[in-house]
Symmetry: C2
């Protein structure tokens, strides 16, 4: 009956992502790692350049321990990396594709 049009590729939107296990797994991992209000804002800030922990904590108006904990989660998933200098830990984005995600998020929810 009626077909099952064999999934004809229409502009290919979502066609390959739907089948690729490894790809969807990595994407899900990245999304999960960023999926927290504070981490979204952290990533947005780091998008503009590296910052050290205290500066982030101040900009986010959050306790240092909390920020450090969230940075740890981002680090464990290789989304950010730290460099020590002058006693400060400067964090920067380690996954370049996060920039695309950020600009997408801004446009998406621009409303």
């Amino acid at each position: 009956m009626a077909a099952r049009p064999t999934l004809r590729i229409e502009r290919a939107a979502g066609s390959e992502l739907a089948r690729d296990d490894a790809k969807s797994a990595r994407i899900a991992e990245v999304l999960k790692a960023v999926a927290h209000p504070l981490r979204v804002r952290i990533v947005a800030i780091l998008c503009r350049g590296e910052q050290h922990v205290s500066a982030l904590a101040e900009a986010l108006d959050a306790p240092q321990a909390i920020v450090s904990q969230q940075l740890r989660i981002l680090r464990l998933h290789d989304l950010v990396a730290a460099t020590r200098q002058d006693g400060f830990a400067y964090y920067r984005l380690a996954e370049p594709q996060l920039r695309s995600l950020v600009s997408c998020m801004e446009k998406c929810e621009a409303r």
Copy 2:
């Protein structure tokens, strides 16, 4: 010292998102709702049109109960919606911005 280049605006990426509480909260909610391999694939499939549960389960090669559970999570966050017809439950995207996210995800992780 050198630096702290005063945050040169490169396309203004992340500037407003970093400060807006409500916006980052909603974004985080959406990301968290999608942040699962199966749900990523579900969203990618629904990007191409509505599907009923069994078709999704078959396409994903996953038990019906699991798919239904993941659809429930997407539903609770208003990312998908269902329509009943002929005894089938047809699901479709309810948040249009998911399409931007999907196309972003495909490009991003294209590697």
